[in-house]
């Protein structure tokens, strides 16, 4: 079991070190996310009251688009020089590889959520009413997104057309997360009277199911 966690952290730290070195999230994905928020503002041509109302939904759509980029990047790390072959030859368990890669994507998603929260506060004039709900729902949604994204990234990784196929495969599956996270954030930002904790509970179930399924299925996907 100790070896399993060692392997998991080894893979996660490797992916995060590469991200820190290459600065793809900071220099490319984060500016893209801000651009999406600004463009939503232009497209809706709305006053701050309307933007505040739609802020939770716009926030999570922007996060989903960023997730696609983060997952594509996570997959490409293993595909470019066929490093996944080395991971298999080294005898790492597929579950530890999956959870390690999902953990790295999770950390990136948390960074982007914090960054974009600043964005919606500045551009849309929102404020956080329920800090606990905002933190917990953000963490749980990031977990659900990173686990599902990593799993579907592996599914698409062996295909020539993975860059274009991944969004088609992944976005419909993440629709429940988008709905749940939007409802929970609406509660946290005080934009609706929805019980955000109930939606956070549903997000937790989704995250646990995605983690369990990913840990079980990843080996089959990378072997094929």
């Amino acid at each position: 079991m100790t070896q399993f966690f060692n392997d998991l952290f080894l893979v996660a730290m490797k992916d995060l070190r590469i991200e820190i070195r290459s600065r793809v999230i900071v220099n490319q994905v984060a500016p893209f996310a801000v651009l999406v928020l600004v463009l939503f503002g232009f497209a809706l041509d709305a006053d701050q009251r309307t933007l505040r109302l739609f802020a939770p939904g716009l926030f999570w759509v922007a996060i989903l688009l960023c997730l696609l980029l983060a997952v594509q990047r996570s997959v490409s790390l293993e595909v470019i020089n066929d490093s996944l072959l080395g991971l298999k030859m080294a005898g790492l368990s597929p579950s530890s590889i999956f959870l390690g890669k999902a953990m790295a994507v999770f950390v990136q998603m948390i960074f982007l959520e914090l960054f974009l929260t600043g964005g919606v506060i500045i551009f849309y004039g929102t404020s956080i009413d329920d800090l606990a709900l905002w933190i917990v729902s953000g963490l749980v949604a990031a977990l659900a997104l990173s686990a599902t994204g990593t799993l579907y990234g592996a599914l698409a990784s062996g295909l020539e057309v993975r860059e274009t196929l991944l969004p088609i495969l992944l976005l419909p599956v993440l629709a429940p997360v988008l709905i749940g996270a939007t409802k929970a954030y609406s509660g946290a930002l005080g934009e609706s009277v929805t019980n955000g904790w109930q939606w956070t509970g549903l997000l937790s179930l989704f995250a646990l199911a995605a983690l369990a399924l990913g840990a079980m299925a990843y080996g089959v996907l990378v072997e094929e």
Binding site: Q3, I18, R21, N81, L85, G86, M89, A90
Partner: protein, 219 residues
């Protein structure tokens, strides 16, 4: 001891028989070279021996492990260098080799020792150690790949076109590495198109054609 034993080994890629009944025995400490045209089955044979693709018919053992049921045990004891480097471009040479040492299950202290030993054996210059792999030449990358595999101290090396894309100095360093690996007790199987080079390296050359050992084995 027989490191590789294959009896009528068959591997299908889809419906195509990539290996159509290979019989082969390789002994400890041998350097065996595979030659043959593109698509003859050399890479498939290497992948089969690495436990990366399943055996569809026939039987075989690698390092005493059954090819049918013990592929994971085979993978841990074998190093395979394919057409790609297997390295992470944004990590430095040091970080790459250390990562692969730790991935092989070595603790931190042992991983550092093995990394330094492998770097020395592969003749990787000190100034390159802190450079990201993306800034290395093809030869330097190849040496780094070999070092990252050497940290596992494998008993069997499977090398697919190890000289391709290298200059004369790079080729010679790969040759030297192969000879030293064998001196250290490992067995090496090389697939190559470079007949002169593999003839000079190995007294045993096996010709693969149409997915079978096409006779003409030179000893």
């Amino acid at each position: 001891m027989e490191v590789i034993q294959l009896h009528e080994a068959m591997v299908f890629l889809g419906r195509f028989p990539a290996l159509a009944g290979v019989n082969l025995a390789v002994h400890t400490g041998e350097i065996i070279a595979l030659q043959g045209a593109n698509g003859a089955g050399k890479t498939t044979l290497l992948k089969l021996c690495a436990g990366l693709i399943p055996l569809d018919k026939g039987s075989g053992k690698v390092l005493g492990h059954d090819l049918d049921s013990e592929q994971k045990s085979i993978r841990r004891s074998v190093a395979m260098l394919g057409h790609t480097s297997g390295l992470y471009e944004d990590l430095t040479v040091d970080e790459n080799i250390l990562f692969w040492a730790q991935a092989a299950g070595l603790d931190r202290a042992a991983a550092y020792d093995r990394r330094d030993d492998a770097i020395q054996r592969m003749g990787i210059e000190e100034r390159l150690r802190r450079l990201p792999v993306s800034r290395l030449s093809a030869g330097q990358k190849r040496r780094t790949s070999l070092a990252s595999l050497a940290v596992r101290r494998p008993q069997l090396w499977l090398l697919d076109e190890p000289h391709s894309g290298l200059d004369q100095e790079g080729r010679e360093s790969v040759d030297l590495f192969i000879k030293e690996a064998v001196k250290a007790g490992a067995t090496v199987m090389i697939a190559s198109h470079e007949l002169d080079r593999i003839n000079s390296l190995s007294p045993r050359v096996v010709t693969i054609a149409g997915g079978v050992v096409a006779g003409g084995e030179k000893q």
